[in-house]
């Protein structure tokens, strides 16, 4: 429908719940879109980052004279040149550029700007480094050793979180079955297809900098740049899209700081585009975890108690380490309700790859432990694995097993499970299994997951929106969180069109520019649609209310109403949405609410996976997969399914192929030749179903879903492998080598 086709007195068709193609789709398919690394500025220089090739060394000297003498080199920046050489307020946030010590392969040491990229790279090779090797802390065990070198003044423990809701061992004493198991999940690289980079331009007159660089948190990057350059926050403008993917990697990325430092020193625009090899070494990974679980079951499959302990490796600086572990703690009881639980998690500093935010944020790691245990318990108890889960799942409004806080009524794991077990993929699994041919054995697995939406209770998580209506009746909405590939502005537009009752073509949504968009926090924690959408909704509702109070007919005469509001000085609305805390915080001490940050709202998901295992080669194929989502109202259903499918494939990668390997502090997976991610040939046929539901606090009943979809895939694949060949993998990824070893070590086949 065109704007003009609108008859007076009728409402536009609802947009919420209708699939709407991405607003930048046409520019993407024609090549017209300018990603931040495509940007070219007049007089632009090219930058390069010199990085450490050793995991741990003292820096005794840096000689840049030969590099500066190379024709074409404009500037070289080292730690001594950085006004405030810090990526955050704490020592453990790390320096912008290494000063006295390097602590990982890939750590940035110097920045070079030159007239062309080749010269910049050549200059990096001329920088003289006087390094003295230091002992390498090559993992959490080495970090915890009594005589370990200490990587920070505060020691090698980056964070620890522990909580108990009772005596787990006492509960296990009465159990019919007790399982004590340990699992390992690997470091995983995001492999956003656009590597970090962009352009920065320094304005000497205004002493301000504009940075075009991908970011999941433009406001945070604005503050980081301001700190490092020692200029006011208002003097930094981050324009954080279009960007070619993120998945967590643009949360901790120091690239905006590097660009700004170079532009200021060079006094000219500077472009940097990281190589894939540099991202493989230096980009923050999903935290590798070592997770153990003690869990007891009654004969009927009910969980009586669980104790989960987790150790994570965050590499040399803190990035998101303790926050990831906080999320692991909350989700260590899975989507299950039982009486007694405990968690104890520790994050260590090492000289391995830095780890940070990655879609799922600590949940896939602990979920693998608990879901594997449920899978094994079902076999041990002779029960159907879906039925065991149905006997234990939380229902909406139930108390959480660890913190005993109240969940929201929209939580509906049960419906996702019930829908999944009725689907032919599960219901006909035995017929499918019987069709196995040759060395390929077939199996079907099921797993469930739950993940909090937003930052959690006590954190003050807030999203904001600013709205303006002009004298043509056209509306501009500046909103966040930013778009990093999910085209969130398309979704915000749908929310706004329905909330305002205006044609969607007359609404322009802008995100990701700190010069225009009010601070709205990160594109993270499954909060963009939920919190950002709710802020948009609040701004629109306020405009509608304002018009009603003034007796102005917004829906039928937007131009006239806009004209009047502009005259009155009432054409702009600012609104915010603050994430609601849980109604009842359970046994969490009130003064420590933000420390544990229990969620009120959760998204949930059940997946059923078919797997074929080659008993001769160990290959694992995943031909078909079902995903049943509890995400409230899907505002843009095809976009939501697209998010689900992409997340599932990242979970599949983690399950059977992706493993960022580091030994002795040296990364061994250095490029896309030896770090494998799923191709189209690895991708299963997928079915995504929504269950009916609505989250009252979300925009039009929506809640977040983009992370929870990653979580069940690895344990569902492990369960399917168990069903196919009788062995349950406890270590990911299940490479052909590991699969063959498991088959060969199995007691009987």
């Amino acid at each position: 429908m065109t704007p003009g086709a609108h008859a007076v007195g009728t409402s536009p068709a609802p947009w919420v719940g209708r699939s709407r193609p991405s607003l930048e789709g046409n520019d993407i398919v024609t090549g017209a879109i300018t990603y931040v690394t495509d940007r070219r500025e007049e007089g632009m220089l090219h930058g390069y980052v010199l990085r450490s090739t050793v995991p741990h060394a003292r820096i005794d000297g840096i000689d840049v004279s030969a590099a500066l003498a190379l024709p074409g080199v404009v500037t070289v920046v080292t730690a001594a040149d950085v006004p405030v050489n810090a990526l955050g307020p704490r020592d453990v946030d790390g320096p912008a550029l290494a000063d006295t010590v390097v602590r990982q392969v890939g750590e940035a040491i110097a920045l070079i700007a030159a007239t062309d990229a080749r010269t910049a790279e050549a200059a990096a090779g001329l920088i003289g480094l006087d390094l003295t090797a230091l002992p390498v802390v090559d993992g959490p065990a080495a970090a915890a050793a009594p005589d370990a070198p200490q990587l920070h003044e505060s020691g090698n423990v980056s964070g620890a979180i522990a909580f108990s809701s009772g005596d787990v061992e006492a509960a296990l004493a009465d159990a019919h079955l007790v399982l004590r198991r340990s699992v390992h999940t690997p470091a995983q690289e995001h492999v956003a297809i656009e590597t970090p980079g962009g352009v920065a331009r320094w304005d000497a007159d205004a002493t301000s900098v504009t940075i075009w660089c991908g970011s999941q948190n433009p406001g945070l990057h604005q503050r980081k740049v301001a700190r490092a350059l020692d200029i006011p926050q208002e003097s930094v403008r981050m324009i954080a899209n279009p960007v070619g993917g993120a998945f967590g990697s643009r949360n901790d990325d120091p690239m905006p700081v590097f660009l700004a430092l170079l532009a200021r020193r060079a006094g000219a625009p500077v472009h940097v585009h990281m190589t894939r090899e540099d991202v493989m070494a230096a980009g923050a990974k999903r935290h590798p975890f070592w997770t153990s679980i003690d869990i007891g079951f009654a004969a009927d499959g009910r969980i009586l108690g669980s104790a989960v302990r987790a150790v994570a490796d965050t590499g040399p600086i803190i990035t998101s380490g303790p926050n990831v572990m906080k999320t692991s703690a909350e989700m260590s009881t899975g989507p299950y309700g039982f009486d007694v639980a405990s968690f104890d998690g520790t994050v260590y500093y090492t000289n391995n790859a830095n780890a940070g935010a990655f879609r799922g944020y600590g949940v896939p790691q602990v979920a693998f432990a608990i879901e594997n245990a449920i899978t094994e318990a079902a076999h041990e108890l002779g029960l159907d694995p879906a039925e065991v889960r149905l006997r234990n799942v939380l229902d909406g409004g139930d108390r959480h097993s660890l913190y005993r806080h109240r969940t929201t009524t929209s939580l509906n794991v049960r419906a996702t499970l019930r829908t999944a077990v009725e689907h032919p993929l599960w219901a006909q699994r035995r017929q499918w299994q019987a069709g196995a041919v040759g060395p390929w054995r077939r199996g079907t697995g099921i797993a469930v997951a739950m993940k909090g939406v937003g930052m959690g209770s006590g954190t003050g998580d807030t999203a904001r929106a600013r709205l303006h209506i002009d004298d043509r009746g056209h509306v501009i909405i500046w909103a966040g969180p930013n778009h990093t590939g999910q085209s969130i502005q398309t979704t915000y537009g749908q929310v706004a069109a329905d909330a305002l009752g205006l044609p969607i073509e007359t609404i322009d949504v802008r995100v990701g520019d700190t010069g225009e968009v009010p601070e709205s926090g990160p594109t993270a924690a499954s909060r963009s649609t939920y919190a950002g959408g709710a802020a948009v909704r609040a701004a629109c509702d306020e405009l509608v209310e304002r018009c009603r109070g003034l007796g102005l007919p917004l829906a039928t005469d937007a131009a006239g109403v806009g004209t009047k509001l502009v005259e009155l000085g009432e054409a702009e609305v600012n609104a915010e949405f603050r994430l609601p805390d849980t109604d009842d915080i359970g046994i969490v001490p009130p003064e420590q609410l933000a420390t544990f940050a229990p969620h009120r709202v959760y998204g949930t998901c059940t997946q059923v996976v078919r797997v074929e295992v080659n008993t001769l080669t160990g290959e694992v194929r995943v031909p078909e997969l079902l995903c049943v989502l509890d995400c409230g109202t899907p505002i843009n259903p095809a976009a939501t399914i697209g998010q689900a499918e992409g997340g599932i494939l990242q979970g599949l990668g983690m399950a059977i192929m992706e493993d960022h390997r580091v030994s002795e502090g040296i990364p061994r997976t250095t490029s896309l030749e030896n770090y494998l991610v799923p191709t189209i040939a690895d991708t299963p046929r997928m079915h995504t179903l929504f269950i009916e539901g609505s989250e009252d606090s979300g925009p039009f009943g929506a809640k977040g879903m983009s992370e929870v979809v990653v979580v069940p895939t690895p344990p569902a694949i492990a369960a399917a492998i168990r069903d196919a060949v009788g062995v349950l993998p406890q270590e990911l990824p299940v490479t052909p080598e590991r699969m063959l070893a498991l088959i060969e070590e199995a007691p009987c086949m």
Binding site: V29, I193, G485, G646, Q650
Partner: protein, 156 residues
């Protein structure tokens, strides 16, 4: 050398050693071809050279002085507007960074075979990594494009 149907000035000899990807982006201003790995693994720099989908990061300018090169910017003029439209309509696009390479692989396939099977599409796209979408909608979009380009053919 022809790019997107138009003749381009013969590259200077000093530029023969440049990667075609850099020549397209920095000398011709065609930034549709993207760099994702620089070693032919990710496929985001895929362009069509004499009818074949090829990763332009592994091609030197001197190797293609007489070639017909097509980039994402020239797809519509080559009759692949329906393919582009189908990717948008099917919501097969998320961040979009891999899409120029994906489209070129699909366009080269459609030029070879106007009504490809799923197996052919899978083979044609096995060198194009996408981290956002999980690929499945690419099949639907290619089938839609095949049907739109040959409305009376088997794919209609």
């Amino acid at each position: 050398m022809h790019v997107n149907g138009d003749p381009v000035a013969t590259p200077a000899e000093a530029d023969h050693g440049l990667r075609l990807l850099d020549y397209l982006r920095d000398h011709l201003g065609l930034t549709g071809a993207k760099e994702g790995c620089g070693m032919g693994e990710c496929g985001s720099c895929t362009v069509i050279i004499d009818g074949r989908a090829i990763t332009s990061c592994l091609v030197l300018v001197g190797q293609v002085l007489d070639a017909e090169i097509r980039t994402v910017e020239g797809l519509a003029a080559a009759g692949h507007g329906p393919l582009q439209d189908a990717f948008v309509a099917r919501q097969a696009v998320q961040c979009g960074y891999c899409i120029p390479g994906v489209l070129n692989s699909c366009a080269a396939l459609l030029d070879r075979d106007p009504d490809p099977t799923d197996a052919q599409i899978c083979e044609a796209l096995d060198g194009n990594l996408c981290r956002c979408t999980a690929y499945n909608r690419f099949y639907d979009a290619v089938h839609d494009a095949a049907a739109a380009r040959h409305p009376n053919g088997a794919g209609a």
